[in-house]
Symmetry: C2
């Protein structure tokens, strides 16, 4: 494992998604892997941590997630901008070698089968809580986070440190049509604490 | 109505939330209003546009949303940082005058009952699609967007223009403990288009 990857306490896993980054969704079943991009992923609960994720029925990922019962979310960064766009706009249904074309490098973490995308800022492995009505009607999946990790060059002690890290670590926030924003600067309020 | 507020086509309403901003949730029932902050709101569908929103059972907003069948999401900006934190950390259950204390100014748009927070960058009025199992089990609400508007000083022709607007219009992205980031700079990929 990359020696900058550190486990994140499960009760703080929501913080990896709380600021609304676009994520990569990876999945695997019987030797077939896929990775797609998703702007529609969101924290759902603190403890045990849960997330929501929208997965269109047209995607290759949908079948892999349904069959395996797992997906992983990861937070890509500015260094991965083109790859994030490419895996989000190409379908493995039509481009079987899309992962090679997009230069996606997968790895695994001991004790977990989910393939993870190397070079991201954070990873959450999620086990599906079956909700067939949501899945069929809304393409909405609920997952319980069973493991979370982050790269300590950008996330430490439960907090993102975008302002201290190299700008290449900034998270990506997709709008439409190839138009992303990176996350910006800290804004600190008066919390009323002494 | 503020003369900078423009309707957003419903099929582009998802773009108001796609980059993952922290939102304000407003609601009203029989003359009682409330506003809370939420990081756990997300687009769910394009057309008709739908959103997901997590509303804890402990909040005053929960009852207002359930009784009225509506909520509004709005995208606050850096100019509203302290207000966003204050309405997100104080409860109307314990602080009945929290909206006055937080300097929240409400307005309405013709044809809609939902109270909206003045000074935001965008607004989405949502009608609940009743899903009692999700609401009870996960505090998860699904709403269909029935109206969307944005301030044309920061959103035009279906696109955010954070890089052209005064920095006070930057959206807010909450992590935890009074620690927000603002949205940053555009990152544009090679879309492969001629």
């Amino acid at each position: 494992m990359d020696n900058h990857i550190r486990p994140v306490e499960l009760e703080k896993a929501y913080r990896l998604l709380n600021h609304g980054p676009t994520v990569l969704v990876s999945s695997s079943h019987e030797g077939t892997h896929n990775v797609m991009a998703a702007a529609w992923a969101c924290a759902l609960d603190f403890s045990p941590p849960k997330v929501t994720l929208v997965i269109d029925k047209m995607t290759k990922t949908r079948g892999l997630v349904e069959k395996s019962g797992y997906f992983a979310l990861q937070v890509p960064n500015l260094d991965q901008l083109q790859m994030t766009f490419d895996v989000g706009t190409q379908s493995k249904v039509f481009t079987p070698d899309k992962l090679d074309k997009a230069n996606v490098d997968l790895f695994r973490i001991d004790g977990h089968d989910s393939p993870l995308v190397a070079g991201c800022s954070a990873w959450l492995i999620c086990k599906i809580i079956p909700e067939p009505h949501n899945q069929q009607t809304y393409d909405l999946f609920i997952g319980e986070v069973v493991g979370a990790w982050a790269d300590n060059r950008v996330f430490n002690d439960g907090h993102w440190e975008f302002e201290k890290a190299d700008p290449k670590w900034r998270s990506l926030h997709y709008v439409a049509g190839g138009h992303f924003y990176t996350i910006g600067e800290p804004a600190v309020v008066d919390t009323g604490d002494e």
